[in-house]
């Protein structure tokens, strides 16, 4: 557990973490040892001369004071380590995410990762701040007490120490058997969540079919599966908990019986027996809390394991000695790219001279968008090379490469800020006039006029408060403001209505002027303005040439064109 925590944290936190754990253990030992003084205190109090207890009582007081100091320090240290840990985790997580291939952020992953980064990290910190100290104390204090008993009376001590391996074995076994059940349960939960999301998103369709909750079996099945998995969890957790209680109580009973027997036989003083039984009661409570603590630690552990997986994902390698590209031409050289076991791009070679425009056309799923993503290094190629200005993108510093490229995506993500902030993202140090000019060029100004708050209208998370066309204009303005020499357009106008399309087109036209452009498109108007057209199908280039050439050839592209034109 702690090892995993340390791995997730990174090496620099090893020492403070170790120190805290050590402090907590020392505190627990101090508590156990202080109880040793109860024996002489009680012996005196139960004896004929209770006044003799005074010096021992003073000693016990001193021991408690030592314990108090230790306890205070270890509590604070737990908090502090927790907070430091949290800071470290956020930084590590943030740095790592920023370096991961963007292609990995599919919709599902985004949800998972945000949950992890939000609640998961806090939970991991909670381990250090809240769970560690009780857990260590619940293990170490009883052990120390057993040692104390052994020192005073070997028979009672021995009887108590028999419980140690039993309790340890039970904890170990429970932990193991629970791991499998927990995993299954997490799986079912995950499945059910997916079904719930599906159920919510498909409401219009489901209702059309009269599939309300009762009749949508897929959802109900998954909810039932969660219940069943949780029953199984209970069934496998209960024996462990019962066994632990049984073991602890058996120890207490044995001590009670043995103590009574020894005392009746006159083999041991009454005070000793009674003190031992008080101590045994002191052992029992923390031991019984172990099963609860164990469960909480297990759940924290599973969060850590997921964090560990994310942090273990290889980021895109950064070039050791980055090269600065000179020109702005773009080249795909025998590029292949696989996603899972599917070849998405298969031996594609293309080149776009500086200032020219390439249109990539083809049926959906042909790998068009992937080409753009490879160019922006959202992924790395599996074979071949993508070059910008003659330099392999893998040899270019990430920030430098991105400075060369402006992308307009089909799906626009806007940050929950004002329209102006979102445009400014293109170039944060741009003057106001420049921002306004870019907005005007993208015909965003007319959108802004219509909005209640004008430029300072908040757009909502993901830009939810704007329509698709309006979001698109924001993203074009952003790209215009960025003023990068290479422009990538991904089916920019595919989901727009005519009015928006006209507006967006004019913005795009300005954006493309004088720049190297690679665009994925099927709207004829855009395609036709390209210097070259590449027809992609199944990840391969089927045809390439100018629009007119391809039409004359009468091949796939010409068919495609015909379909588009046919009424």
């Amino acid at each position: 557990m702690i090892r995993m925590l340390l791995r997730v944290l990174g090496r620099e936190y090893t020492r403070p973490m170790r120190r805290t754990v050590a402090l907590m253990a020392v505190t627990a030992i101090a508590e156990g040892l202080s109880y040793a003084l109860l024996v002489p205190v009680l012996r005196a109090l139960f004896g004929s001369n209770p006044g003799d207890a005074r010096p021992w009582l003073a000693a016990f007081g001193a021991a408690v004071a030592v314990y108090a100091v230790l306890r205070y320090r270890s509590d604070l240290s737990g908090f502090r380590v927790g907070a430091t840990l949290l800071r470290g985790l956020y930084h590590r997580f943030g740095n790592h995410l920023a370096r991961l291939p963007i292609g990995r952020y599919s919709a599902g992953r985004v949800g998972e990762v945000s949950v992890m980064a939000g609640r998961g990290l806090l939970q991991a910190m909670g381990v250090a701040a809240h769970l560690l100290a009780p857990f260590i104390s619940a293990c170490v204090t009883p052990l120390t007490i057993v040692v104390v008993m052994l020192a005073f009376d070997w028979r009672m001590g021995l009887a108590a120490s028999v419980a140690v391996p039993v309790v340890a074995a039970i904890q170990h076994r429970t932990g193991r058997s629970m791991a499998a059940v927990d995993a299954e349960r997490a799986e079912r939960d995950h499945e059910a969540t997916a079904r719930v999301v599906e159920y919510l998103q498909a409401q219009p369709v489901l209702r059309a079919g009269g599939r309300t909750a009762e009749r949508f079996r897929l959802l109900d099945d998954s909810l039932l599966a969660v219940e069943r998995a949780s029953h199984r969890t209970i069934l496998s957790a209960l024996p462990g908990a019962v066994a632990l209680t049984l073991a602890v109580q058996a120890m207490f009973t044995v001590l009670l019986v043995l103590g009574a027997h020894l005392a009746l036989g006159g083999n041991i003083g009454a005070a000793e027996v009674l003190t031992f039984l008080v101590l045994a009661a002191r052992c029992a409570d923390p031991l019984l809390s172990l099963s609860d603590l164990g469960g909480r630690l297990r759940s924290a552990r599973s969060v850590l394991a997921r964090l560990d997986t994310v942090l273990g994902t290889e980021p895109l390698p950064e070039a050791r000695e980055p090269i600065r590209p000179e020109g702005h031409d773009v080249e795909f050289d025998s590029v292949s790219f696989r996603h899972g076991d599917r070849t998405v791009v298969d031996d594609v070679s293309l080149s776009v001279p500086e200032g020219q425009r390439l249109a990539v056309v083809g049926p959906s799923g042909a790998g068009k968008s992937t080409l753009l993503q490879l160019l922006a290094r959202f992924y790395d190629v599996d074979a071949g090379a993508v070059r910008v200005g003659g330099v392999d993108v893998r040899d270019i510093d990430g920030e430098v490469l991105m400075a060369q490229i402006a992308i307009v995506f089909q799906e626009v993500y806007l940050f929950d800020g004002t329209i102006e902030e979102n445009v400014r993202l293109g170039r944060p140090d741009a003057a106001d006039a420049e921002v306004r000019a870019a907005a005007a060029a993208a015909q965003l100004d007319e959108v802004v006029e219509r909005l209640p708050g004008g430029w300072s209208t908040k757009v909502g998370e993901g830009g939810a408060l704007l329509s698709g066309g309006e979001r698109q204009r924001v993203s074009i303005a952003r790209a215009l403001l960025k003023n990068a020499p290479i422009v990538l357009l991904d089916e920019v106008t595919s989901a727009l209505d005519p009015v928006n399309e006209t507006a967006v087109h004019e913005g795009i036209e300005r954006l493309m002027r004088g720049r190297t452009v690679v665009m994925v498109a099927h709207r004829l108007r855009t395609v036709q303005r390209a210097d070259r057209v590449a027809f992609l199908d199944g990840g391969r280039i089927v045809e390439q040439g100018s629009h007119d050439e391809l039409l004359r050839r009468g091949g796939r592209y010409a068919d495609f064109w015909d379909i588009s034109m046919a009424g």
Partner: protein, 611 residues
């Protein structure tokens, strides 16, 4: 974590009674059937806890016997020992049973909650969803219901050990010696005395800051992750990344401040309640009382054994019942969802006569202060195609969404076959109106099930026919198991393919009224063609309303409606409107010039000429 919640830590997990029958069953109402089970859990827990005192009392009794002068009664000793052992066994039995029943009950309750939530979410107006994030709702159904767990499964044990056991012990100890009992309570008093320090205005402010910072960090995490593609693409990865890290540092800073303020007091409380300190206090008091002969030495024992238990309530409060608080908040969110009024169903549904759709003075706004539709009068006759055009933000999407009753108009009415939609049975409505919108949802189910979603009893032939019509049949056959292929698991479809499946779905539903957003068609030319062909074959007696994006569609429509700013600016036959030389004509010309750009080399698009 919320140590400062001490003062307000009451266990109000049961929500207040329901506001009225109209709001549906509340969370408390849902829990009612489980009350007997829950009572059993609590009773068993109490029995177990009290039985758990037996061994401690046995030790006390043993002490009395052993420490008394005079001969020891062996029989009595063994009786006491056996009683203690039996007590332990009873405790084991009852707590285990209680915990087992509690957990089973818990998973039952969770299932019930989830089913109820799903049922309610299946009946709220669809428009209600558009203002909520799916993730949030999914969290209510999943996580929030899960947060009920500690309340049902753990609360009884925690509460019993925190309150019942200390109370019983306290009464017993008072009967032994009231002075030492008061002394034993000293640590408790000390700890409680520290509570006000935690609720000073400064501490409260720190707590609020902490909660705020917690919210900020979560949202900045979400934003960072979701917007990462944009952030990277604009070379701002360093910047946005720094923003995230700054938020993290802020949070940690606030956390540190909070900890610095609270940790001293919290640690002090922990210390006052710690076993060594309590034992020290008891021993000092006991020693004093024993030396002046006021207390029999054997009477010290119960305080050593039971005295520690007295601190339990404060210790429990110190943890602030964190889980219970969280559960309470979760139940609140669950209740909120359960109280969303469902789309009202008519008590006496009226059957529509025919399929004419009439909108009369329809007004609608998503919020009170901003109307999106401002008085729409529109009649859609069976067998006609009505095309809506207009700039973005003019209310086109909102208008078409009133037909499948995603929203009810705030004023005016939408009628189908002479009957207000609100008086139609919702099944009837959905059988009559089918729609293809931009956001395609495929279920993780077989292709056939996906197409037959609206017509679950359709046979495969019909499904195949619809698939052919939507031009997706060949693609389906190429899937690993054809129509039986489970989408998402065994195969994924591209955007255009998914849209053709959605089209096939609408075609199979064969509803007399079809509402269509043509943007759907623009995934690729093939889908575009399929939609157009389907539109053509679907004509006849069908009523079609389409948000038109293509000139061909506009030209072929019987009626064109130009929407502007929530009002109908122009309407009529396309040719007539063109002749009027108004808004539509301007729109048409701008589009034509755009198309003309693209048609220089080959062919002229059909439909470019008006009928």
């Amino acid at each position: 974590m919320t140590t400062t919640d001490l003062a307000g830590a009451s266990v109000r997990s049961t929500p207040p009674p329901d506001a009225g029958p109209a709001t549906g069953r509340s969370a408390a109402g849902l829990l009612r059937p489980y009350l007997p089970g829950f009572a059993t859990v609590v009773v068993f827990q109490v029995i177990g806890a009290i039985a758990g005192l037996a061994p401690l009392l046995a030790v006390v009794e043993l002490g009395r016997v052993l420490l008394s002068s005079g001969p020891v009664d062996h029989g009595h000793v063994w009786f006491v020992v056996v009683a203690g052992a039996v007590g332990l066994f009873v405790r084991l039995l009852f707590t285990a049973a209680s915990s087992g029943i509690g957990h089973v009950l818990d998973s039952r309750v969770q299932l019930t909650f989830r089913r109820q939530l799903a049922a309610r979410l299946g009946r709220v107006p669809i428009g209600w969803f558009s203002r909520r994030r799916t993730g949030e709702l999914a969290k209510v159904v999943g996580e929030d219901v899960g947060a009920v767990h500690p309340f049902i499964a753990h609360a009884p044990a925690e509460l019993v050990s925190a309150f019942v056991v200390p109370l019983v012990s306290l009464v017993y100890l008072f009967t032994v010696d009231w002075r030492l009992t008061l002394i034993t309570l000293v640590p408790v008093v000390l700890a409680v005395a520290l509570v006000p320090l935690m609720t000073t205005p400064t501490r409260r402010r720190e707590q609020e800051e902490f909660d705020g910072a917690m919210g900020r960090i979560s949202s900045s995490v979400v934003e960072f992750v979701q917007g990462i593609a944009v952030v990277k693409a604009f070379g701002g990865s360093g910047r946005a990344h720094r923003r995230f890290l700054t938020a993290a540092d802020d949070f940690v800073g606030v956390f540190f401040r909070w900890v610095r303020g609270v940790s001293g007091i919290a640690a002090g409380m922990q210390l006052a309640l710690s076993p060594p300190f309590v034992l020290l206090v008891v021993l000092i008091g006991g020693a004093a009382l024993i030396t002046d002969g006021g207390l029999a030495p054997a009477d010290l024992l119960p305080f050593l054994l039971l005295g520690l238990g007295l601190t339990a309530p404060v210790a429990a409060l110190g943890h602030g019942f964190d889980d219970l608080q969280a559960a309470r908040r979760a139940v609140g969110r669950i209740r909120d969802v359960l109280q969303v009024p469902p789309l009202p169903e008519p008590a006496h549904p009226v059957a529509p006569r025919g399929h004419r759709v009439e909108l009369r003075d329809v007004r609608f706004g998503y919020s009170d202060d901003h109307e999106v539709l401002r008085g729409i009068d529109l009649v859609l006759d069976p067998g006609t195609v009505t095309a809506i055009v207009g700039p973005s933000g003019s209310g086109k999407s909102t208008l078409v969404r009133l037909l499948p009753r995603f929203f009810d108009p705030t004023r005016g009415s939408v009628a189908l076959g002479g009957v207000d939609l609100r008086e139609l049975d919702s099944r009837e409505l959905y059988r009559t109106v089918s729609f293809v919108f931009q956001d395609v949802r495929l279920l993780r189910a077989s292709v056939a099930d996906n197409i037959a979603l609206a017509v679950p009893d359709a046979d495969l032939d019909d499904v195949v026919r619809a698939a052919r019509l939507a031009d997706i049949h060949d693609r389906i056959l190429a899937l690993p198991r054809g129509y039986e292929t489970v989408l998402g698991d065994e195969a994924g479809l591209s955007g255009g393919e998914a849209q053709r499946i959605s089209l096939a779905r609408a075609l199979l539903a064969d509803a007399p009224v079809l509402v269509l957003d043509e943007a759907t068609a623009f995934a690729d030319p093939r889908t575009e063609q399929a939609v157009r062909r389907a539109l053509a074959t679907q004509a006849g007696e069908r009523t079609i309303l389409v948000i038109a994006h293509r000139l061909e569609t506009v030209a072929d429509a019987d009626t064109v409606v130009v929407l502007e700013n929530g009002r109908i600016a122009e309407r009529g036959k396309p040719a007539e409107l063109l002749a009027q030389d108004g808004k539509f004509a301007a729109f048409w010309r701008s589009r034509r010039s755009a198309i003309a750009d693209g048609t220089g080399t080959r062919g002229v698009p059909r439909g470019d000429e008006l009928r």
